[in-house]
Amino acid sequence: MTTVHSIVPLLAFLVSLVAVIPIVLLGERRRNAREAATFIAGFIKFALVASMVPAVLAGKVLEFSFIELLPGVALEFRVDGLGLLFALVASSLWILTSCYSIGYMRGANEGNQTRFYAFFAVSLCATLGVAFSGNLLTLYLFYEMLSLATYPLVTHHQDKEARSGGRTYLSYLLFTSIAFALPAVIFSYLNSGGNMDFTSGGFLADKVGGGSALVLLLLFVFGFSKAGVMPFHSWLPNAMVAPTPVSALLHAVAVVKVGVFCIIRAFTGVLGTDFLQTLDVASVISWLAAVTVVTSSLIAMTQDNLKRLLAFSTIGQLSYIVLGVSLLVPHAVQGSMLHIPMHAFGKITLFFCAGAIYVASGKKYISQLDGLGRAMPWTMGAFAIGAMSVIGLPLTGGMLSKIYMIWGAADAQQHALLAVYLVSSVLNGVYFFPIVYRAFFRDPQGGEVYDRVSEAPLPCVLPLAITAAGSVLLFFFPGLVFELTSLMISAD
């Protein structure tokens, strides 16, 4: 593995930060130009991220570091397979979400749209910062930046519900990151001998004992509570007060995936899976995640509000990833990395659909959806594909990652945890299929006729069709995703 100095990661990071300037200056008066700025930034960002693919696939690591923050620890970007994969997912979906936002925000007559687009861009900037972080301190820095940048988006409506949702959001995320993650970062620094760079074997490997390693893992898993491992999960359902594009990109992809991404880094880059295997402490995390997987699926079954159901489903899916990486065996770790893009495409489709339904018909509850599939065939069809991917059914990408994680559980001889994967898949089916069934096969309630309701505006429908197609394409053409994650597994 060779390290190459490159400024591309910095540029990719900065693009959306710079985009804030035209967004703010153009403002609501020239809103078409403002949205154009978002798009241009989105495409440039994606192009920059994509331009790094060949080098990374060739086994290179792109590096850029600037100010030294602590002795031996600089503000540093290092792009490896996992970071690049996550950046690809986030930046490509940003373009689609921007398109969707135009339809949604204008269709729903939302206020304060300039603020919305500006902070969306800042959030993406922070997300890429996390993805490219080369060491633990840089990671922590951008993790906190993301919490702050998304807060104005959650509180967007400024009403009582939004304010209290925002309060819960921030108090959970800041409380856990300051109370748990920060001490873990400092403890790691003190034990690392002044080098916090993520390495394939883990920079703390062989430097801490079993007890310390367990405490560190717990601090990381609870401290990076964007991953929603119970009991620090309830910020996510509360964050659903945000406009749907926020829920879609941030609370199904960027923010929550940043949480699991940080946890994966803690397992692979900080402590190292090989070192953890010698300690036999990671199973505590496995069981925490397993409990979250099952409990959240059960809670999801009781929800009638569609977005809340999706939120609980997300909590469960995130813990799949945590569970996978905590199994420590290559297949499970690779499966959990694969699950980042697979789940991202599936879940963002579902959120897009939920938002499209709201824009077109004003409906938020599952019990109101009877017969809606006839009025909105594209939307509900995409919903069905997204649901299939999240459940892990064939012909969708979600199946591949799930198979890898189950394979890993078998490798690790953890049959109880293997059963958790299977049972929860069934539960996923139990809460998703009734929705699809209602939409397509039941008659509208009370003789309601959907002659006024049709599909949402094109900017809403187009992205959800693309992401649904993406879920399917990931099943047939998973090559790039596999190659990038394989780099992380066989890195040494």
Binding site: I23, V24, L25, G27, E28, R29, I67, E68, L69, L70, P71, L75, G111, N112, T114, R115, A118, L137, Y140, L141, E144, L148, P152, T155, Q158, D159, K160, A162, R163, G166, R167, L170, S171, L174, F175, I178, A179, L182, P183, I186, F187, Y189, L190
Partner: protein, 506 residues
């Protein structure tokens, strides 16, 4: 010329104070320019002096007043730590003088010349306290600071007189303790020069004598009272919040921090680490007091709805940070404490300046001053936000790095209570400030919400924050300095390392 810089730093403001009174009798408009010129010279001398110190071998300079031998005369000794603290004092003094332009004219009409004279005397006293290497001279300068600050506070509103009187009583007790302590030391060692006292303690092997111990305890009690270490903090809140705006913005960032600096100087230069950290029981005890101070200060701040009072209780908590860090007895802790002197001075300064603008514009001293504040005063709120995020301790602001070093020190020393208290106070600060952010950025009234560019139909309001530049610019510079101090922490800590290297810290 450059070797006279330490004297210029102290004498310039003194001269300015004299001129301010004299010229003020003819035309009070001249006072502010005089003060600004004096402070600008002082501040640039401080920069030059710091550069000199860093360039000198061993990064330490000595200056003898009138050329007298330190045995009889007064010696100033400057290392990187004192150089940085003096730079902070003079920078705050200068920026705050600009900020005071309209405030003093409105709040203390017809008394501007007294105000600026006292102001300059206070800056001179603070700089002198940091520079001097003479324990008795330090007392004299301490009294200069105290007397001027009593008067500066009493100029404020009607309740300021009583607050100032309280401060007089407590402050005098504190100063007397300090003087008594120095007296004990003088009896035993026959020296007033700090290095002289230290040498005598070493040479005569009298560190175990009860006299020295009592002297040490008295000095510590004295500085703790003056720095408002919990539970000796009663005077601070009223004094700082009822004082005139610009008195508060000068004293809040500087007074307590300078006293912390003196505590560190006494611990390291005069008594030495061996003496101070000899009895672990006692040094651990002080860390626990600091721990309680942090928690109590945070909780008391949370209970206040008056903006300035809330900020003053945060100072009480921050004093706990520094005292605790210094008494951990290890290198990281001491670095954290001394770095935090700078970063806390900058944070407090930024927050007081921004809060001063908001309180002044809205005429409200309570939290509701912040309702919809972003729409009305965007730049001020940005400054306030940066200060608040630094207070919470988010990277890459300076608040994060001081917390980082302090927590590292706490972990190394096994002082888990202190570590937990630091994290707790970060969390309380987060609650405190996000309560304000919610009001400022997301008010219930949608129309006054926080949106860039504003209402497309409304006429754009061209005046920036409806605040004079004289107030806005210093505040924004202070906010920017938080990031600069944070990002440059490696450089600063490198200098501090050299300054602390000679004191055998673990």
């Amino acid at each position: 010329m450059t070797d006279q810089l330490p004297a210029i730093i102290v004498l310039m403001p003194l001269l300015g104070a004299l001129l301010s009174v004299l010229l003020g009798m003819f035309d009070r408009k001249l006072c502010l320019p005089v003060a600004l010129v004096a402070l600008a010279i002082t501040a640039s001398s401080a920069v030059a002096m710091l550069a000199n110190v860093l360039a000198s071998p061993g990064q330490s300079l000595s200056y003898r007043f009138g050329g007298w031998d330190p045995l009889v005369g007064i010696e100033y000794r400057i290392d990187a730590l004192s150089g940085l603290v003096v730079l902070a004092i003079t920078a705050v003094g200068f920026l705050n003088a600009i900020y005071s332009k309209t405030r003093v004219r409105d709040e203390s009409p017809r008394r501007e010349h007294y105000f600026y004279a006292l102001y300059l005397l206070l800056v001179a006293g603070l700089c002198g306290m940091v520079l001097t290497n003479d324990a008795f001279n330090l007392y004299v300068l301490l009294e200069i600071c105290s007397l001027t600050s009593y008067a500066l506070i009493a100029i404020g509103n009607r309740r300021a007189a009583l607050a100032s009187f309280n401060y007089v009583i407590i402050g005098t007790i504190g100063a007397s303790f300090y003087l008594l302590g120095v007296g004990y030391l003088y009896i035993k060692t026959g020296a007033l020069n700090m290095d002289g006292i230290h040498a005598a303690l070493r040479a005569n092997d009298i560190a175990d004598s009860p006299t020295i111990k009592v002297g040490f305890i008295l000095i510590m009690l004295g500085v703790w009272i003056k720095m408002a270490l919990f539970p000796l903090h009663g005077w601070l809140s009223n004094a700082y919040s009822y004082a005139p705006t610009t008195t508060g913005t000068l004293m809040a960032p500087l007074m307590t921090k300078v006293m912390v600096y003196i505590m560190i100087r006494m611990m390291l230069s005069v008594f030495g680490t061996e003496f101070v950290f000899h009895e672990e029981f006692w040094s651990n005890g002080v860390v626990w007091i600091a721990t309680v101070a942090i928690i109590a200060g945070s909780v008391l701040a949370l209970a206040r709805s008056d903006i300035k009072k809330m900020l003053t209780y945060l100072i009480v908590a921050e004093v706990g940070y520094m005292v605790g860090g210094a008494w951990l007895g290890n290198h990281s802790g001491m670095i954290g404490a001394s770095y935090h002197i700078l970063s806390d001075a900058a944070m407090t300064f930024c927050l007081f300046l921004a809060a001063g603008i908001i309180i002044n514009r809205t005429g409200e001293a309570r939290m509701n001053a912040f309702d919809g504040a972003f729409k009305k005063y965007p730049l001020t709120m940005i400054g306030f936000t940066v200060g608040a995020l630094a207070m919470i301790g988010l990277p890459p602001s300076c608040g994060f790095f001081s917390k980082f070093y302090l927590i590292s020190g706490g972990i190394e020393a096994g002082q888990w209570g202190f570590v937990v208290a630091l994290l707790f106070s970060s969390l309380v600060n987060a609650v405190l400030f996000f309560r304000i952010f919610e009001r400022a950025y997301f008010p219930k009234d949608l129309a006054s919400g926080f949106e860039f560019g504003g209402d497309p139909d409304a006429k754009p309001d061209r005046s920036l924050d409806q605040v004079p530049y004289s107030m806005l610019v210093p505040m924004l510079i202070a906010a920017a300095s938080l990031l600069v101090i944070g990002l440059a922490n490696q450089t600063i800590v490198g200098w501090l390392n050299t300054a602390l290297a000679s004191f055998s810290l673990k």
